[in-house]
């Protein structure tokens, strides 16, 4: 009775009763009419919204044939697409549309080459930073005015804050649901009873999955015997050496790739590197990790090149140059993605079915594809400040990639054989999207906005000492109006004061530490309770169970041994004492 309505509804939903009973319980406990009508309104809204659900049928077909793991890639792609759609919409409405009112005519001619290079005609379009004016736009004399500088910086800032919040919340929800704990995952029981994929609705796929499961069970039955064979020392040494060798080779290639990217950037050429061969020699987690390291280092080097060399060079409009660089990178990445699909899946299927028939059809490489998506999204995020309409281009690219991957999947791939820990990997990928990707982008944006001097002749921030100076100048103007004193107060005491962030970080660390201790305590509690259950039930089975002698002897042996040990300890102690007494008596 003390629960809020929302909690009550959730509790009713959780009860395993039929609809009829739930309805009765609900009508008894819920009284407020206003709340009911509000909920009805919200439900009808969400029903309308669901009818606009994009790609619902396609996702159902993919899930039906290939299972939840491959489906998770497409759902991730759809999710990233929504970020880009949101960004494009707000950038277009708040930055580009006002700009069109005060636009200068474009004097350059359009040749088709611009689609590839991003330069030329596009240089003076709304695509790049340089196009935007630094003026305050007003349609009529003394009418409402629109400050382009503030609009630019606030729109981009707001977008990133919202992105951060959405990612944080999704990550937290995902952790909650999926509770990554790799060491307690493996187990026959959970594999058997918990991982049958109810999503699969295609007859062939069901038969295939059943066959895979029976093969796995057979292998595991025989493999259990082999597991207890110890490898000889020599074999383990060779094993370790091979591992180290492949790691060294991969890291060496990574360093070489980064160096080549750096030098080629200086010479304005673009390349893309990838790591497909290491997959054959290393387990999947290491392969994914190496790919991540490579991509992070490449992006790191590019950012250093852009922020340190391009931005400080005396070239006209360096922001537009960076924007063009990113545009070309995204285009090359898109082309390589399509090519990767062509070679990795289409040609591989042709080879696997005609030339080397033992190879068979390829499986869809989820890890590589997701990492490609994260890489593309990172580039887009970096590029938003320098090219506001870039998310629109990425949107189109993701659309095309979705359909290409879907067709390639249906025609060329077979369902995955191994159990892919979809839930854990999805959480891991989301974590990856947040941690190196978004935070790295935020760091780059922060450096650009606070430290770099905008170019003199183009863009909304021309002539200022830094992009953030636009905000500080605006605050200075606001100080003269008494109605906006609170804005000035917030700015001076919360946003620009270091003390506030220090206090915030300390509170955050304290809360994290408290929760960590609570979790540790609960884990110990769980272990103790488990032991208690086993002990209590084992004592009961000892008393009651007369049939299963094997189990009983296992437990009784333990108790008997400990009892014997205790008794023999007592006897030794007693004899030891008697001996001592005897010795003492003699003296």
């Amino acid at each position: 009775a003390s629960m809020s309505t929302r909690e009550r509804i959730k509790a009713i939903q959780k009860m395993p009763e039929t609809m009829k009973k739930k309805r009765e319980i609900r009508s008894i406990s819920l009284i407020s009419f206003v709340l009911q009508s509000f909920r009805r309104f919200r439900n009808s809204l969400s029903e309308r919204f669901h009818q606009l659900w994009l790609w619902h049928k396609t996702l159902k077909i993919i899930g039906g044939e290939f299972g939840t793991s491959v489906l998770s890639y497409f759902i991730f792609l759809k999710w990233l697409l929504s970020f880009n759609i949101f960004s494009f919409l707000i950038n277009f409405s708040f930055i580009t549309v006002p700009q069109f009112i005060a636009a200068e005519p474009n004097n350059l001619s359009f040749t088709g080459l611009e689609l590839l290079t991003g330069a030329g005609y596009f240089q003076q379009t709304a695509l790049y930073y340089g196009f935007y004016t630094n003026a305050t736009i007003s349609k009529t004399e003394n009418g409402a005015s629109y400050n382009m500088q503030l609009a630019y910086i606030f729109t981009v800032g707001m977008y990133f804050v919202i992105c951060l919040l959405i990612l944080l919340i999704s990550m937290a929800k995902s952790f909650c649901r999926n509770f990554i704990n790799p060491q307690i995952y493996s187990g026959n029981a959970s594999k058997l009873l918990c991982t049958w994929d109810f999503n699969i609705t295609n007859e062939k796929a069901v038969k295939l999955k059943q066959k895979n499961l029976s093969t796995q069970i057979k292998v595991q039955n025989t493999g259990d015997a082999k597991r207890f064979l110890n490898f000889s020392k020599q074999e383990t040494l060779v094993h370790i050496l091979i591992h180290l060798g492949v790691w060294a080779a991969s890291l060496g290639t990574a360093v070489a790739a980064c160096a080549s990217v750096y030098f080629l950037s200086i010479n304005n050429l673009k390349v893309r590197t990838d790591f497909t061969t290491s997959r054959m020699f290393l387990p999947i987690h290491t392969h994914v990790l190496l790919n991540i390291i490579l991509k992070i280092s490449i992006i790191g080097i590019l950012c250093y090149y852009w922020l340190d060399i391009v931005a400080t060079s005396k070239s006209q409009c360096w922001e537009t140059l960076i924007g063009q660089d990113i545009y070309r990178l995204i285009l090359v990445d898109f082309i390589f993605c399509l090519l990767g699909s062509f070679f990795g899946e289409f040609l591989r299927r042709i080879i696997g079915t005609t030339v080397f028939v033992s190879l068979g059809m390829p499986e869809f490489d989820i890890a590589r594809n997701v990492l490609d998506l994260i890489y593309a999204q990172t580039l887009t995020w970096i590029g938003i400040l320098f090219s506001p309409l870039l998310p629109g281009i990425q949107m189109i690219s993701f659309f095309i990639v979705f359909y290409v991957k879907k067709v390639s999947l249906m025609k060329n791939c077979q369902p995955p054989r191994q159990v892919w820990r979809a839930a854990q990997m999805t959480t891991f990928f989301m974590l990856l999207l947040f941690f190196p990707s978004l935070t790295g982008v935020l760091a780059v944006i922060a450096v650009t906005v606070w430290r770099l001097k905008p170019s003199e002749e183009c863009g909304p921030f021309r002539g200022l000492s830094s992009m953030f100076a636009a905000v500080s100048e605006w605050i200075k103007i606001l100080e003269n109006y008494t109605g906006s004193k609170w804005v000035v107060w917030i700015y001076n005491n919360l946003i620009t004061s270091e003390l506030f962030f220090f206090i915030l970080s300390t509170i955050f660390l304290i809360i994290t530490y408290l929760y960590w201790q609570i979790i540790k305590g609960r884990k110990t509690m769980v272990k103790l309770l488990r032991k208690q259950i086993v002990n209590v039930s084992s004592s009961f089975t000892f008393i009651l169970d007369t049939k299963d002698i094997e189990k009983r002897t296992k437990f009784t042996c333990k108790t008997r041994d400990s009892l014997l040990l205790f008794v023999s300890a007592c006897i030794t102690l007693k004899s030891g004492c008697e001996y001592f007494n005897m010795v003492q008596c003699w003296h």
């Binding site: 959780k14 039929t18 029903e47 649901r177 509770f179 959970s190 109810f198 499961l213 069970i217 839930a423």
Partner: protein
Amino acid sequence: MGNKQTIFTPEQLDAYQVQNKLNGLFYRYRDLAPQLVPLDYTDKPDVTLPYELIGSMPELKDNPFRQRIAEVFSEDGDGNMTLDDFLDMFSVLSEMAPRDLKAYYAFKIYDFNNDDYICKSDLEKTVNKLTRNELTPEEVRLVCEKVIYEADLDNDGKLSLEDFQHMIIRAPDFLSTFHIRI
């Protein structure tokens, strides 16, 4: 869109968990037997569809456990479902159902003899359904023994609901695999 509002009373709409798919699910139910199911549900007619129609749905027809699913969610235990049972089923199998609810119903599905425990014979039937009877009886027995050894916490030779729920915690994929898209 206007005529959809007369199918259910507002109170009926409130009770269902899959609110945003309610009308879609109703039309799927009706499509199975348009001559039996009336369009107007405001006076709560008593209509039951036989198991053969439910089991022929594209989402269920290739699922090895479709019979058990229908039996668990039907009122009479034979697989013949009213609209309430149908909505119950897809509500539990939807994305939004909580983990405990799903675990409860998954347990009931795997409990073939309905004795509130998953005993060895239940497990053997499950394994055979999962592998399409391709394993030898010896291998099936071995697997079942391993499962009971791993999951049975209170050592009574069979899995209770608590054992099953404890096992679910260690399988984070359960929420996404015990899910049927409609």
